[in-house]
Amino acid sequence: MKRRLGLIALALAAVALAVAAAMIRGASPDSASAASHREAPLISYTPAEDLTDVFMFRSYEAGNQDTVVMLMNVNPFSEPSGAPNYYNFDPNATYTFNVDNNTDGLADIRFEVNFTTEIRGVVRALGLPFAYAALPPITALDGAGSEGLGLRQKYTVRMITQPGRGRPGGLLSGTQDRFAVPSNVGPRTMPNYPNLASQGIYQLGGNVRVFAGQRQDPFYIDLGGVFDTLNLARNPPLLSPAEDAAEKNAFGVDALSGFNVSTIALEVPASLLTGDGLGSAATAQPAIGMYASVSKFLAGVQGAGSGRGVGAFTQTNRMANPLVNELVIGTVDKDRWNSVTPDQDLQFAQYVLNPRLATAFELLGLPGTGCVPAVGVVNLLPGAQAAQCSKTNRIDLVNALLKYNPADAAPTGDFLRLNLKLPVTTPLASQNRLGVAAGDLGGFPNGRRPKDDVVDLAIRLVGGPAYFTARAGDGINVDDFQLPATFPFLATPSDGINRVHLDRRDPVFAPPPFLGGP
């Protein structure tokens, strides 16, 4: 989710991408004839590998509470009108959910998703220069009604387990085609998008459900304000008790309003994940850690990957806890952080122990920062405070981000951690955006649900007790779209002609009513 910052120039994103694509990747083709050289394009940008958010929670859908839902989002800031090619997954990438089920900080189970792309249909027959066309309207992902889908992606889902664990594993997606749900082009091309999208939910082997395709970006944040060193719409950015408790925005706007992302969603029976193979009620190993990663096909001339086969893969991106790479890891180490596995995270501990964001808060004249005391719940929160915890030695943050249990001798790395024994908060309306900090044990940092306000929580956790007391936050408490309570738990994306990007100059937007919904 490196995107948050990079795309500060919001208005530029779409056009800039077009420029980058047209102008730079634009080839400089020379002939392959004897007397010339071939000058391939030199520069690239790959948003489809750019993870924006990762979620993990026990399903709050009726009857499915013994399953764990994992989501990863890519394609930051997908502008719904981004014709003609819209947004796809990267066929050269492997998208992986990495699950640790024995708290040793190493992945025990991986779910790998791979895409292929085909150019097809009416679009091809007519030679139209578009990936999608309205001829005829697109009402299906395959067969009749899918003719207008000029560019279509299929995918496979593979479960990989450590040898000897006796798990089913293997190719969960079977031999049938599984289609990614295309971008929401608009009502003429896709007259019933929710119906089209629902065709993209597949039941796989092992009772796993999967969805891959476009969704509304569930992240809500006054992006520009937060990254302009907390230059928020209220100064100082503090909420009243009533504002803090309300499911509406206190000030500012959701800078991600009207933008979409591409989502891969998995719903997996808890018993498929746990170390002892038991469900959430019975398992003796309820702590599950997860991070998402994107790895890229790597071929070489002479060294590794120079063989003829699939070649090697190299990890280009990973994410677990929100905002870690954005707000915590120093600029010079961001790429390296992305390329390693969480068991290597100890090298980055100094960034966590002495967070620059906290320094920035104090420079702004905000309340003094400090350690967050033990909240006294579960093993997933800042634990019993070590005496030596201080502003420049934030053991509490290490405990929160990098450990399963504060008592653990060494950090295990950045994982999103979920305790399967803790109750699911249902219905959706009863979930508290502040999660565990507000007594809602089903929310962040016990996993992360789409509704959780990780921005306010990050500000308060990094700031310390005074920030909790004063209710610091970005003023954005709720997404611009209403979240659905069913798989894949993210809302129908904005279409290309009805999207609304909110602006600070607009009147304060306080849903409900929402701009859109499931």
Binding site: L12, M23, P29, S36, T117
Partner: protein
């Protein structure tokens, strides 16, 4: 990506440039002072409304910005790249001096600017000035060692200078820095040069997949993949890729040109001539003129074929006037068509000094052979095949040299080898190979 993150609030201005140039430069490496905040607005203005294929509009906007702020280095370097892209789109070498002026001025205003240095490296490659490209690429790489593109410039130049080991090391470093279309395509090309066309298919397919299905990169990679199949004698697979490119990018000149060769090779001359004419009219580069001339010639229209020789002369002058070194292409054309052979040999020798690549070796060998200097020709032919490249045209040239040296059975073996590799390797010479192979 993290590189974009590094921009943070204070350097938002740079974001525009980085996007514009697709991240040619990692901001972390950009040691220069952050651009003025106002240049963000400037860049924004420039980019507003820009769409794929609308480089002329971008050029106009950047020019307008520079009229009021002549020292805005972001706009200036962007303009340099925009001119390079215009040259790619139109084939008009007149854009090269303009690109050079913009990039050089950027360097004058900000000496040691990695982006402009990189741009000049690309420009030198486009002008086939490979020693210069190597120098510039290395300078850019020293300024921005984590920028994959700079390794690409260095590698490309080294390939053309015949220094393949170093070149392939650069490509390997490049793909590790940024496994994407540019590096995949180079890995594929390297494997092809090493005589492993089968192993070159997967990375070129990866390059297609990495195109983001934007018309031009998609079409470019599809054509490259098609030519790879073509070089393996897989005529149908090649034509499929060319047509795929045209589906997504109707009128794409390089696909028209490739498809013309494919149609002509299968005896469909009417279609071939129509395609080749469209390509040559849209972008009169040596490659397109050669195809058109050979298509006319193969279809028996010798007079029309010869008319193209004059066109080629005019193009040669135009390229030279804009700083492009096209000796190799022009020498090959003259040698192939039996025009002014001694002059062509001199040009081939000159080209070889500048560009001792496998192709440089091959063209020189062929020019020597056609001037009855077959002993010396053999030396260069062996050089041109020293990596084990499976290139039917190079096999054919070797066959002609062996024949000229009176080594009949050797020569027949090379002709057969050429035809086995690709029975349609040349409109002009494949029939000759068939005749002599018997």
């Amino acid at each position: 990506m993290t590189r974009r993150l590094a921009l943070a609030g204070t350097v938002a201005a740079l974001a525009a440039t980085v996007f514009l140039l697709g991240g040619a430069l990692s901001p972390a490496e950009e040691a220069q002072p952050a651009p003025l905040a106002s240049s963000n607005a400037v860049a924004e203005q420039s980019l507003e409304g820009f769409r794929v294929g609308d480089t002329p509009a971008l050029v106009r906007r950047l020019q307008a910005v520079l009229r009021s702020r002549p020292d805005d280095i972001d706009s200036l370097s962007a303009l340099g790249f925009a001119y390079l892209q215009r040259a790619r789109e139109t084939g008009d070498p007149g854009y090269y001096p303009k690109a050079e002026a913009a990039l050089r001025r950027t360097l004058t205003l900000r000496p040691g600017n990695a982006l402009a240095t990189s741009g000049l490296g690309s420009l030198a490659l486009s002008r086939h000035r490979f020693r210069e490209a190597l120098r510039l690429g290395r300078r850019a790489r020293a300024l921005a060692p984590k920028t994959a593109a700079n390794w690409g410039i260095v590698g490309d130049a080294l390939v053309e200078l015949g220094r393949h080991k170093e070149a392939f090391r650069a490509f390997d470093a490049m793909v590790r820095l940024d496994p994407d279309l540019p590096s995949y395509a180079r890995i594929s090309y390297a494997r092809e040069l090493l005589g492993r066309p089968g192993a070159a298919v997967r990375p070129m397919q990866a390059a297609v997949d990495a195109s983001g299905f934007e018309p031009e990169p998609y079409a470019w990679t599809k054509v490259q993949l098609g030519k790879l199949f073509w070089s393996m004698g897989k005529t149908e697979a090649a034509a499929r890729e060319y047509r795929g490119a045209l589906t997504f990018f109707p009128g794409y000149v390089y696909a028209l040109d490739a498809l013309a060769q494919s149609e002509a090779a299968q005896g469909r001359y009417g279609r071939a001539v129509r395609l080749a004419k469209r390509a040559a009219e849209a972008m009169p580069l040596p490659q397109m003129i050669t195809t058109l001339a050979d298509t006319y010639w193969a279809s028996g229209q010798r007079r029309l074929a010869r008319q193209q020789y004059g066109v080629m002369d005019a193009i040669a002058r135009l390229l030279k006037a804009n700083g492009v070194r096209a000796d190799l292409d022009l020498a090959l054309f003259d040698v192939d068509h039996g025009i002014r052979l001694p002059r062509a040999l001199a040009a081939a020798r000159r080209a070889h000094r500048e560009r001792p690549s496998l192709d440089g070796d091959d063209v020189l060998a062929w020019a020597l052979a056609r001037n009855d200097k077959c002993g010396e020709a053999l030396h260069y032919s062996k050089r041109s095949l020293r990596l084990g490249t499976r290139d039917a045209l190079k096999f054919f040239h070797r066959g002609m040299i062996e024949r000229c040296l009176g080594r009949e059975s050797n020569s027949r073996a090379w002709f057969s080898k050429a035809l086995r590799q690709n029975p349609h390797f040349s409109l002009r010479w494949a029939p000759v190979a068939r005749r002599y192979a018997r």
